[in-house]
């Protein structure tokens, strides 16, 4: 067998697309460093990007899981808003941080169970179900509180302001003080989730079943996989992660608002796709998704520093980026399959 290992296999589609994204991210970031310098030269820039997007990273993982399984989940933004609002109200009514965390998980679990059941066992289109879920969650958020609410809970405020300081990645300010790089607790949670989901997708049977389901659900069934349960689990995980994302979101903003995390689901889908997840299922990777979020965020920062401060510029560049990546992916994959056909034809001729 050791002989076989030396043969380098061509990369799988998943890894190929992910590698492309990572390369583009680094190129772009280095370009930003070279052209605009300033903030981009400091590590804090990276940490700010993480701090502002911890919740997005988590729901992008949600979407990656569901999309690998060949589905879609657009309720995650609504779940974030509902969780954030519910937690604020709960904390302000004297609840503890622990019960608030349980509440977030509970809301995620409830959404996951209902949506997962409807999609997997009643075989309704996931787009429709999660669209309903999105409206439902947004509506519930306003029922919980019509007015925006700020967290008044002291313990939670301390948690919000607790930052992980990394001195060796800091910079020296003009007055000579060392300012360490700061990272919020939410980022730690998000990174931990990325690692866990990566492990789950790569190493566990359940994770591999997701790929099989998305690759060809009929085959997956014939291979002896319980596709209904597997599909249910993708939605369950997605919604639970969205619940956690809601809590992390609250740790960053400290306020509940009915319009919280508006469009988060779309950003999460965009990040997953940029990170190499195919909407058609079976291909994708959370490391890629993580870099997808970072790529999207870097683009937005670049747009801002280059003087285009109006918000629509960010949307326009996001749209352009998405187009660019999808084009790139389809070109890469179609070239690949054409190469394969040629190779097989050569073999057949032999």
């Amino acid at each position: 067998m050791s002989r076989d290992k030396r043969i380098r296999e061509p990369m799988s589609d998943t890894h190929l697309l992910m590698t492309i994204t990572i390369c583009i991210f680094f190129c772009m970031y280095f370009l930003a460093m070279a052209v605009w310098g300033g903030g981009f030269l400091r590590w804090q820039q990276v940490f700010d990007m993480l701090n502002n997007n911890a919740a997005l990273i988590i729901v992008a993982c949600s979407l990656t899981i569901v999309m690998i399984g060949g589905g879609i989940d657009i309720s995650v933004g609504g779940v974030i808003a509902l969780v954030a609002m519910s937690c604020v109200v709960h904390l302000n009514q004297g609840g503890s941080i622990f019960t608030a965390a349980l509440l977030s998980l509970g809301i995620g679990l409830a959404f996951g169970l209902v949506q997962g059941y409807l999609v997997a066992y009643l075989e309704i289109q996931p787009f429709i179900i999660t669209l309903a879920g999105m409206f439902f969650a947004r509506g519930m958020t306003t029922i919980v509180s019509l007015e925006p609410q700020k967290v008044a809970h002291e313990g939670f405020k301390t948690l919000m302001n607790t930052k992980v300081e990394i001195p060796w990645l800091g910079y020296t300010a003009k007055n000579g003080n060392l300012i360490p790089a700061r990272m919020e607790i939410g980022v730690v949670v998000a990174l931990l989730i990325v690692v866990l989901v990566y492990f789950m997708l790569r190493k566990t049977r359940m994770g591999r079943n997701f790929y099989a389901l998305g690759g060809n659900s009929q085959s997956a069934l014939m291979l002896g996989i319980n596709i209904r349960r597997t599909r249910m689990i993708t939605h369950l995980l997605s919604s639970i992660l969205a619940g956690i994302a809601g809590f992390v979101f609250l740790m960053h903003t400290g306020a509940g608002n009915a319009t919280n995390a508006a469009g988060a689901e779309m950003n999460a889908i965009a990040s997953s796709i940029i990170g190499g997840t195919l909407l058609s299922g079976g291909v994708g990777n959370v490391i890629g998704t993580f870099f997808g979020v970072m790529t999207l965020t870097t683009i937005k920062s670049i747009v801002t520093v280059s003087g285009l401060r109006d918000p629509w510029w960010q949307s326009i560049t996001t749209g352009a980026m998405l187009c660019f990546f999808i084009l790139l992916q389809s070109v890469v994959l179609s070239r690949r399959s054409r190469g394969k056909n040629r190779k097989n034809q050569r073999e057949a001729v032999k």
Binding site: I7, M206, G215, M222, L223, G224
Partner: protein, 502 residues
């Protein structure tokens, strides 16, 4: 259950809306035997297999498996696997996005983690043990279809199954691969595995099988020892009538030499068919492309039809140069093409029989001139009658028809456009003997009516029966052309195998 029997099915019934697919069918499989399951398309072979593998639930009947007590309930492919029943389907049922090793092991054991190293090592051993040219870490989608099929078999072999079902495993394999597969089957037989072999190839049945069970119209005709059942008798049992004399076709071959050339290609080449070739066909002629799988037969006719991007050459219809750059151009010139892959390129599975039939005509007329319902119904009914398409109604989705009937629907679609030149690419693959003969007869009848037909088939006898001129291809080049006296199996083989062009 009798001693030495691994599987007994008794009184199996299964109905679908409007169709009784299985009617009290009995079947039994002995340890270490290869048992052929035969029948025409729609006879209920697939349904019986699917009942056994848990894809369909049975309405009535008992299934007993060796080592398990009483009636075994099989509700899902998973249950079937656990009962020791493995299946390799005609269509590849693996996941192209996963690696070869994963495809061999996924879904087979419970438990948390995937032991990648162990799995890949084991996969490597099995693959090299069976002589399958695939690497464990290779993405399955990058293997050829034949290799994917072998991987599916390797998976089934490794499952220590008691019953192995091979559902048309040979239809996408070439002779060498078939021989390899048969070797494998005999190996397994020696190990005591009972094998159910579903195929259309009669020769293959007689080569490997011990017993034959014949189904017809969802009913059991009988189970026979292979050596006691002559081939002709088997065919007549499958068809339920004496086999018609095939010699009706002899002496009716038309070379069309006397009549005018309908279509001509000069130095034609396309992206898929880089070597330029010349080709012509006369009015009322039936000719054929022959050669091994992958020798460029399909690519050549696809170039004629404009289905791949044409890169050079000239096409003439009735001696006048015309531009054929897309299937639409070809259709306007009265050329029709029945593609090789009926599942992907041919039928639209969810549309009704009627809509599938009128599709090409609708495209020809343009979408601003819709075909009225009454007209569509009339046309569809006419073809269902003349081609004897077995369907519950005009509105039945094509997906629920059997393979042979799907093929007839596509044929009807093209005949409706009244083509002058019809290209049939493997129209008889995966189709039972009866329908095959019908299609061959139809081809000759159409030619008599003045239509030019190009026929492609992997079965040389069939080509010899229908074609007046055979164009032989090898390595994507035309290496010979046979007519008249040269049309014998031997000379075709010799030309394919190489050496001198005739």
């Amino acid at each position: 259950m009798e001693q030495g029997t691994v599987l007994t099915m008794r009184g199996i019934c299964k109905s679908f809306p409007g169709v009784r697919a299985l009617n009290h069918v009995d079947f039994s499989l002995k340890k270490g035997e290869i048992h052929a399951l035969m029948g025409e398309n729609g006879a209920g072979k697939s349904t019986l297999i699917k009942v056994l593998t848990g894809v369909y639930s049975r309405d009535e009947g008992v299934i007993e498996v060796e080592g398990l007590s009483g009636d075994v309930q099989i509700r899902s492919p998973q249950d079937a696997q656990e009962a020791g029943i493995s299946t390799v389907y005609q269509e590849i049922t693996l996941c192209p996005n996963l690696s070869v090793a994963e495809n061999m092991f996924i879904g087979r054991s419970r438990g948390g983690l995937v032991p990648w190293k162990q799995m890949e090592n084991r996969a490597g051993e099995i693959l090299s043990g069976l002589g399958i040219p695939a690497r464990p870490r290779q993405q399955l989608g990058s293997c050829s279809l034949a290799v994917q099929q072998m991987v599916a078999i390797a998976r089934a072999v490794d499952m220590e199954c008691k019953v192995l079902i091979l559902d048309e495993p040979t239809s996408s394999l070439d002779d060498k691969e078939v021989a390899m597969l048969f070797g494998l089957m005999r190996d397994l037989k020696a190990r005591g595995v009972g094998i159910i072999f579903v195929t259309h190839f009669l020769e293959q049945v007689y080569e490997v099988c011990d017993r034959i069970t014949v189904l017809r119209n969802g009913e059991l005709v009988g189970t026979y020892e292979t050596r006691n059942l002559p081939q002709v008798e088997l065919v007549s049992k499958m068809m339920g009538r004496e086999l018609e004399n095939l010699s009706f076709m002899e002496g009716r071959k038309r070379t069309g030499e006397s009549s005018s050339t309908v279509f001509e290609a000069r130095d034609l080449s396309s992206t898929a068919c880089p070597n330029a070739f010349d080709f012509h066909i006369a009015k009322g002629e039936v000719n054929g492309f022959t050669g091994l799988l992958g020798s460029g037969r399909s690519e050549s006719v696809r170039a004629i039809f404009g289905a791949d991007r044409v890169t050079g050459g000239q096409t003439l219809v009735d001696g006048k140069p015309v531009r054929i750059r897309s299937p639409r151009d070809a259709m306007e010139q009265g050329i029709a093409y029945l593609p090789e892959d009926r599942k992907d390129d041919g039928i639209i599975a969810d549309l009704s029989v009627r809509d599938n039939i009128i599709l090409a005509l609708q495209v020809m007329r343009g979408f601003f001139h819709p075909i009225s319902d009454a007209e569509a119904e009339r046309m569809a009914e006419e073809f269902i009658r003349t081609l004897e398409i077995k369907t519950a109604s005009l509105d039945t989705p094509v997906r629920s028809l059997s393979g042979g009937n799907q093929q007839k629907v596509i044929l009807a679609r093209w005949l409706l456009t009244h083509p002058r030149y019809l290209i049939l690419d493997e129209p008889t693959r995966g189709i039972d003997v009866g329908t095959k003969t019908e299609i061959q007869k139809l081809v000759l009848k159409l030619a008599d009516e003045g239509m030019s037909v190009t026929f492609i088939s992997s079965e040389i006898e069939e080509m010899l029966r229908t074609c007046a001129r055979l164009i032989v291809m090898r390595d994507r080049r035309i290496v010979g052309e046979l007519t008249g006296e040269q049309l014998t199996q031997e000379s075709v083989m010799r030309t394919i195998a190489g050496g001198e062009s005739v």
